[in-house]
Structure formats: C-alpha cells, structure tokens
Amino acid sequence: MPNDATTAQRIKQLLVEKLHLDGLAPENIDDQMPLFGEGLGLDSVDALELVVALEKEFQLRIQSHEVGREAFGSVATLAAYVDGRLQTADDAHVRS
C-alpha cells in the first residue's frame, strides 16, 4: 500500500482484504458508514480480525477494552483513533 495513502484509505483496504469482503471496493466504503450491524454488516468475529489487522498494519497494540463502539463505529472514527494512537508518545515503546 502506498505510504502516502490516508489512514482512512488504508483502513478501507484492510477491511476488504483482511475481512474478505469480496465484491466490495474500498472506494465504495463511505467514511461515515457504520461498520457493525447496519452499514457494512460486520460482526464480533470481524471485530477481532480487524484488531489483528490494524495491529499489524499500523504497528500498534490495541487493548481489548479500547475496542468500543466509539472507536470502531465507522472508518472515520477508526482513522481518528489510529491517528491519535500513532501520535501519542506512549505508543513509541510498544511499537516493534
């Protein structure tokens, strides 16, 4: 994936590739579309898979209590969460 892709674009690519949403193009995922239930229709197993994929892609560790409805509501909220995590100094020592 190109380095200059926005976090939101990278997340959309991850959603399609890692969750095997065959037939769905990343550009067809709306930033505000709910990820779970209505919208993209993901479920709790997808949430686990998404955490693993995000941890690998962005080199961060996500604690289970962070996987809340707020951060994982949509691509937009997830991108804001990831950007926030990447900017905090706290993360420096957990990156590997």
Binding site: L19, L21, V45, V52
Partner: protein, 412 residues
Amino acid sequence: MCGAERADHASLDIVVTGLGAVTAYGWGVESLWSGLRGGTGAIARFERFDATRHRTRLAAEVPTSPEEGRFARRASFADRFAVASAREALAMAGLPGAPAGPSTGIFFGSSTGGMLESERFYERFLRDPRRRARPGLLASQQLNGPGDAVAREIAAEGPSETVSSACASGAMAIGAALRALRRREVDVALAGGSDALCQLTYAGFNALRSVDDRPSRPFRADRAGLSLGEGAGVLVLETRAHAARRGARVLATLAGEAATCDAYHMTTPQPEGQGAAAAMRLALEDAGVEPAEVDFVNAHGTGTPLNDAAEAAALHAVFGDRALTIPVTSTKASIGHLLGSAGAVEALVTVLCLLRREVHPMPSAGEPDAGLALDLVLGRPRRLQRAVCALSTNLAFGGANAALVFRRAEAA
C-alpha cells in the same frame, strides 16, 4: 424401539424430495452421478496441504468452488460443502430458502467440522513471534459448524442436531431425522453430513496404516486400505402428507433405519460382522422389508482388509444364499471415504440408483476377493430389472454400525 411404536410409524411415510452433494467429482449431484457412472474414480494426488511426509499422497479432494457469496468468506470448507449441498437439495425439493421456520430441523453428521481451519490458525499463531493469527479461522471450529451453518442459511428454527459417531455419523444423522419426522417434531428435515480433509484426518489414517497407496479397491483380493475423501451430502426429508400438500416430487421413501455397536474394539470391526448384521436386520425390520426384497446394497466397503471381510460376513448372515447374487457396490471406491459425511452421500447415491434403476460401478481395478463371495458391480453401471428396495450400510470406528433402507417412490 418397541413393536407398538413401529406399528404406529407404518402409517407415517417419510419421503425424500431433494438431494444435494459436494464431492471430488464437483459441486452438485449431477457431477457426482455422472462421475460414478463413468467408473473412473476421483481419487488422485492430494494438493490442499503438504502430504509428502505421509505414506500416501492420494485423496479425493473437492475441486475449487463456484461463486458462493459473502457467507463463504469465513466459513470452513466443511461449512461451505454443507451449505452448497443444502441449497441444492432445497432447490430440487422446490422448497424456498429462508425462512424455513420452526417446523424444519437440521440433522447432520461430521467427524472434524472446521478442524482444517483450526489447524491453520494454530500453525500461524505458533509461527508468528507476536502470536498473531486470524481469529476468524476458529469461528467454525466446532463439529456442529456445518449443521449450524445450514440452519442459519435457511433460518431453520427446529432442532439442529449433530451426530459424531465416526464413519456412521451421516447415516445416523439421517436416522435421527427419520425418528424426529415420525414423532412429528418437524415437518421437514435437512439430513446429511459434511467433512473436509484436515491434517488430523490425513496423518491419523496414515499413522494407522489404514490407507492404500493406490486408489482403494473395496472387496478385491489385493485391497490394502481406504482412500480418504471429503465433501457433503444433504437429503430433504418430509412426511408424505407434507410433500403431497405442496405437490412435491417424491424421489424415494426412507423406509427404515437402525444403529448398533460392536462393543468390541476401537478400530477393528467384530470379525463376523455380528453388529453390522444386527443393524441391517433391524433396519429392514423397521422398514417392514424382508431381506429377499432388497435389490442392491450400497456397502460401507472401505477397502481395508478387515472392514470388507467383516461386512461381507454380515451380508452373508443377513441375506443367506442371496448374498452371492445381490449387486454390491461401494461409493467410496470412487470418491474416497468421506468419514462423517460418508453415510449421507452414500444414502443419497442409493436414492439415485433406485431412481435411475441402475447400480453405479466401482472402478474395475483389482480381482474380486473370491473368499468374500459377493456380486460386485465393477467398471460399468448395472441395470436393474427390479429397483424397489435398497440397503445402505456403514461400519465405523468404535464399532458403530448403521443401516438405512430406501424404497422406490411409487412402490411405497
């Protein structure tokens, strides 16, 4: 089952109205039937995972699937075989898909469910220094995965039962469906089984030295073991009244079932086939059929020296002199041993043979074992002058035996 209960069942015919299958011949019943008729087996070099460490590289592997939709993205192979077979069976029965509702039950057999995907998860988990692997690989790990996937697919809200009694599972699941229909717990049952090859199965049968390094040759003098296979089979079963009300085409009657246990050894069948013979007799009795009325037998016929000898002994015990002349085939000779779904696919094939008035052949390689004294159908299909009643048998590890009796639709 007591005599009074049997008599009560006589008035409640259970019929087969739909069939669906996924086997090494392909996705669908017609690919299975044309493959079996052709007499060229589908047992070939196994490619899905590296089997080079094992005694044999052979198996009957299901080919790449057609488009299955989004459901398949996280489903195990076993779940996908099951759902594809259920969809086909429902379509043949002329039943709508979802919602099937509370009067439809699911009765499935499986030996390993989503084991292959679990193995893949742990392989990745153990190899990744940070212990990361796709959790979704574990989503369909349980043995009840295939049956439950079918229930979700069609929103069947009746009982969803999974039987796991080794290689008798599929037949026993069909037996469980028959009993539930007779008790009027459900109007419609999807009964069958699904299993996918996994490392556990492949390594296990190799370690037991139960596999032949050539395609298996059931009941032949030079037989040296079974060939593994995978796939699913589903039968739509319903009461005759229910089928009649909706104008469904009846393919056959599921007339009787029975199961017994040798209670003898973990893997070896009782040598005289006493338990297997008992299951056959009880199933015929349940069906109200005399041994003399049976037109052909779809045998368990694994191709192991011990199974085939015990099964032949059981057939002679049940059929007497007729065992010398009753046509016997083994579906496993062509599509391998499907373990938890073997009994289901073989039941379905038995229905096809009755419908089309011919017994499918086994590939012709190997001389019949004269000591077993059976009339084997080899190389070419055997046309039947009388195709009214058929027996399908399964003899499993653990000594589990199951037998199913089918009758031609118009003969019921």
